[in-house]
Structure formats: structure tokens, C-alpha cells
């Protein structure tokens, strides 16, 4: 309870800083918290906002689906086969820290403008952390499980389904948590740079028309949804790890 109140104090301080910046920078640069919330409320009431909102989160959903399935497959393969794991790990790690924004034009050239480019761009951001975390999880499974599986004469498929995947689930959620924010980032940058739909486009469009309150309201709503999803994933992650430990 006390911790909750303390966190509330942090929010109040952040809003106060925001208001202070508003007084400092003026209306043209920064809308006040009150005005932003008012605009956000009116956006939530307009149907056209929901079209953009759906566009962004449908793209995010597809991208996450591809990232999770692909990352899981790559991670399992590399985790179960030692040599390929050793070969691939440094490559994956250096791909992870590469600024993939640079590659965005390539994605546009391959997929064209629109939904598929956004999904692809989001997916390449998310797939690598999921693969790295899954691989790590598979590699750290206690050898006694594999021995037990061999004693029970489990087939390869049974081994993966009843030993490897359950053991990898908590790490998979951790990977998803890291991957989620990167995937969202990818989708939003995609929309800001070249798109006619979605929340990223709304932000850029509001800049173009010097509509600061709308821009800040969209960012506020986007950030709130993102934090909500991220917090639930984190909660799930901690519970799963707790159960295993």
C-alpha cells in the first residue's frame, strides 16, 4: 500500500514537471496536462481515431505473433543442437544490438508501403530477443530431465512438447516482454516514416498541422496502452519465474 502511494507521488511529480515545462516552453511547443487529457478524451470519442488505433495494434499483433513463433522455433533449434547454438549466438547478439532502423528502407523496398512492411519491421525487432531468451532457456534445462526423457523413451516430438517447451515458457515470456517494446517501436517508426494510417501517422500529421494538443494526446494514449501491456507481461513473467523457482 505504501509502495502504491509512493508510486502515485512519482506520477504527481512527473505531471508537475510537465506543467512546469509547459509554463516554460509555452503553448506552441507543449500542451498542458489538462488540455492533453481533454483532447485525449475527445479523441477516444471519435471513430476515426479508433481506425488508426486498430491499424497500429493489428500490425503489432501480427508482428508479435511472427516474432514469438519464429523466435521459439529458432531458439529451440539452436538450443537443442549444440554446435549450431555456438555458431549462432554471437551472430544473434550482434544482430540484437544493430540499429535496425537503418534497414527500414530495405523493408519498404521488399514489402512496399502498407501493413506488411510495418508487420515485417516490427517482427524483425521482436524475433531476436525471443530467440535469444528461448535458446538460453533450453540450454539451461537440467540434464536430468533429458536423461529421464531418454529412460522413458520419449520420441523427439514428445521431448520437445512435454519437457523443452514447458521449461522454456518463463524465459519465453521474458523474451516477449523485451520483444514487445522493440516491436511496438518498430511499428511506430514504420508509421512515422512512411504510412497513411496508424497512431505514428497521426503524430506526424499533427506535427504537420502544428496541432500540439492532438500530438501529445496521441502519444499519451499510446504510452498508456503500451505501459499497460508491458506491465501485464511483467506481472506474468514474475509469476511464472516464481512458480519455477
Amino acid at each position: 500500500m505504501r509502495q502504491f502511494l509512493d508510486s502515485l507521488v512519482v506520477i504527481v511529480v512527473l505531471v508537475a514537471i510537465w506543467q512546469g515545462l509547459h509554463w516554460f516552453a509555452g503553448d506552441i511547443a507543449l500542451a498542458s496536462p489538462g488540455e492533453t487529457v481533454k483532447r485525449a478524451a475527445s479523441l477516444l470519442g471519435s471513430p476515426s481515431f479508433w481506425v488508426h488505433f486498430r491499424e497500429t495494434f493489428v500490425a503489432l499483433g501480427y508482428a508479435l505473433l511472427i516474432a514469438v513463433l519464429g523466435g521459439l522455433a529458432i531458439g529451440l533449434l539452436l538450443g537443442l543442437h549444440r554446435l549450431s547454438g555456438e555458431v549462432a549466438e554471437p551472430i544473434l547478439v550482434s544482430l540484437y544490438s544493430m540499429p535496425k532502423v537503418t534497414l527500414y528502407p530495405v523493408i519498404l523496398l521488399v514489402f512496399g508501403l502498407g501493413m506488411s512492411a510495418k508487420v515485417a519491421f516490427g517482427a524483425i525487432h521482436g524475433i531476436i530477443p525471443v530467440a535469444i531468451f528461448t535458446m538460453g532457456a533450453v540450454k539451461t534445462i537440467a540434464p536430468v530431465y533429458f536423461k529421464t526423457a531418454r529412460v522413458l523413451q520419449l520420441s523427439r516430438r514428445q521431448l520437445v512438447a512435454s519437457v523443452v517447451i514447458p521449461a522454456a515458457v518463463p524465459e519465453l515470456v521474458s523474451g516477449l516482454w523485451v520483444g514487445f517494446s522493440l516491436t511496438l517501436l518498430g511499428v511506430i517508426i514504420g508509421e512515422m516514416f512512411a504510412s497513411q494510417h496508424g497512431l505514428g501517422f497521426l503524430v506526424m500529421n499533427a506535427i504537420g498541422t502544428l496541432d500540439v494538443p492532438t500530438m501529445m494526446a496521441v502519444v499519451l494514449l499510446l504510452a498508456s496502452v503500451a505501459v499497460l501491456i508491458s506491465a501485464s507481461l511483467l506481472y506474468l513473467d514474475r509469476r511464472l519465474h516464481h512458480r519455477v523457482a
Binding site: 509502495q3 509512493d6 508510486s7 507521488v9 512519482v10 515545462l21 516552453a25 506552441i28 511547443a29 507543449l30 554446435l83 555456438e86 555458431v87 549462432a88 554471437p90 551472430i91 547478439v93 550482434s94 540484437y96 544490438s97 544493430m98 540499429p99 535496425k100 532502423v101 537503418t102 534497414l103 527500414y104 528502407p105 530495405v106 519498404l108 523496398l109 521488399v110 523485451v178 514487445f180 517494446s181 522493440l182 511496438l184 517501436l185 511506430i188 517508426i189 512515422m192 516514416f193 497512431l199 505514428g200 503524430v203 506526424m204 506535427i207 500540439v212 500530438m215 501529445m216 496521441v218 502519444v219 499510446l222 504510452a223 503500451a226 505501459v227 501491456i229 508491458s230 506491465a231 511483467l234
Partner: protein, 249 residues
């Protein structure tokens, strides 16, 4: 060299050759991608002509400023938060969900406040890198074995010498993770910011080349960034391994 290293080199070389072959044979059209050899050749010419030197210097300068301030700032903030458990617990949920907030959406706002200069770009890079450093600094300080701190007290070490001789080395592995993440995030932040809204820099030059269908320049500059980041990462990787090896890990 180990077997895995050989296989890895072969895989990377094979991939580049495959790309080269698919481009040359027309499986991948020229409008989509040019052969890697052509990218390298054009990059070499661009470097010689010096046309993009000022953009390169500018982007790298921004990355370095953002990186140094993120590492120093993140270390200081992390240490301060670590010393104040109550504040830390209150801030924790915000730090944990920090990276879910798409910061680039704030970038136009920063441009409105600071103008179209280096400041908003560096700030985005800093904001992106600093939290990774804060989180890892706190994790590192958490992992200092209490027995070492007690030993320091028994030996009558002052707080400054305890920090230098005990705390810093014990937290080093986590700090290194923070530094590596910070450099990656600063690169992403700076280049993405230049991409979206800027009038110079490598990110802007790539976007400009893309909009003008100048594929050769675009791919040459991409190759430059990717090579550079790979070299920087490899440098930190080797350095980290050396420090770990000295401690017998």
C-alpha cells in the same frame, strides 16, 4: 581457432556470397537490392570523395555525446536510487515499463522545444540509453557480496576506497551489460531520430537517398553503419572477455 568460429565465419561468408549471387542472377531485382560487392565499392568511392564526411562526423559525434552522458548519468542516478530504497521501490514500476513507451513519438515535441539542431537528437539517444544503464547499475550494486563490504569495514577502508576497490569491481559485469546496451540504444536513438525529422546526419542521408531512389548511396551508407556498429560491439565484447578472464571467469 575453435570449430564453432570456423563454422560461423563460413556461415557469414556463405550468406554474403548467396546475396551476391541472387542479386547478380536477378533473383533479387536491382530496384530492391544491389549486390554487396557494389555496396562496398560505392562506399569506398563515397569515403574517398568525402561527400558524406560531415554527416558521418555529425552522427558519430551525436552518438558519442549521447552515449557518454547516458553512461555517466545512468551510473550516477542508479547509485543514488540504490542508496534510497524507498524511492527506488516507488520508481521501479516506471523503470520496468520505460522501454514500452515509444520515445520517437516524443521526438517531434523535442524539435518543437529545442529546434532542429543536435540537441533533440542527442536527447533522444540519451533518454533511450540512460535507463538501461540505471537498471544495470542498480542490479550490479545489488550483487555485491555483503561479506566483501564487511571485510572492507574490518580493514578500515574509507567509503571512497571501498567504492573503488570493492564495489566497482564487484558490480563490473552488470555495469558492462549496461554500457553495451547503452551504446546499442544510443545508436538506435540517434539514427532513428535523424531518420524521422532532421536535415543532416547519416540517418537523414539514408532517408534522403531512399526518397530519391538513389539505391547505391543508400546501401553504401547502410553498410557503413552496420560495419561500424559491428566493430564497436566486437571491441566491447573482447574487452569484456579480457576483464572476465583476468578474474578467472
Amino acid at each position: 581457432m575453435k570449430r564453432a568460429t570456423w563454422v560461423r565465419t563460413a556461415v557469414v561468408v556463405g550468406f554474403v556470397l548467396l546475396l551476391e549471387a541472387s542479386c547478380r542472377l536477378g533473383i533479387i531485382g536491382r530496384i530492391t537490392m544491389i549486390p554487396p560487392s557494389e555496396m562496398a565499392g560505392h562506399l569506398w568511392r563515397l569515403l574517398q570523395s568525402g561527400r558524406y564526411n560531415s554527416d558521418m562526423v555529425e552522427t558519430l559525434g551525436n552518438v558519442v555525446v549521447a552515449f557518454v552522458s547516458a553512461v555517466v548519468g545512468g551510473f550516477v542516478l542508479g547509485s543514488v536510487l540504490h542508496a534510497m530504497p524507498r524511492v527506488r521501490r516507488a520508481v521501479d514500476p516506471f523503470l520496468a515499463t520505460y522501454y514500452a513507451v515509444p520515445f520517437f513519438a516524443f521526438y517531434p515535441l523535442l524539435v518543437a522545444i529545442f529546434g532542429l539542431g543536435a540537441a533533440p537528437i542527442i536527447l533522444i539517444g540519451f533518454l533511450f540509453g540512460v535507463v538501461a544503464m540505471i537498471i544495470n547499475t542498480m542490479n550490479g550494486l545489488d550483487r555485491i557480496p555483503p561479506v566483501l563490504v564487511k571485510t572492507a569495514r574490518v580493514n578500515g577502508l574509507g567509503s571512497l576506497r571501498t567504492a573503488w576497490l570493492i564495489k566497482l569491481p564487484s558490480a563490473a559485469p552488470q555495469l558492462f551489460t549496461g554500457v553495451k546496451l547503452a551504446i546499442a540504444y544510443c545508436f538506435i536513438g540517434v539514427i532513428a531520430a535523424e531518420f524521422i525529422m532532421s536535415t543532416s546526419g547519416l540517418g537523414y542521408s539514408i532517408a534522403y537517398a531512399f526518397n530519391n531512389f538513389d539505391n547505391r548511396t543508400m546501401y553504401a551508407l547502410m553498410l557503413f553503419i552496420i560495419t561500424l556498429v559491428t566493430i564497436v560491439n566486437a571491441f566491447f565484447h573482447v574487452w569484456e572477455r579480457r576483464i572476465m578472464a583476468r578474474r578467472g571467469w
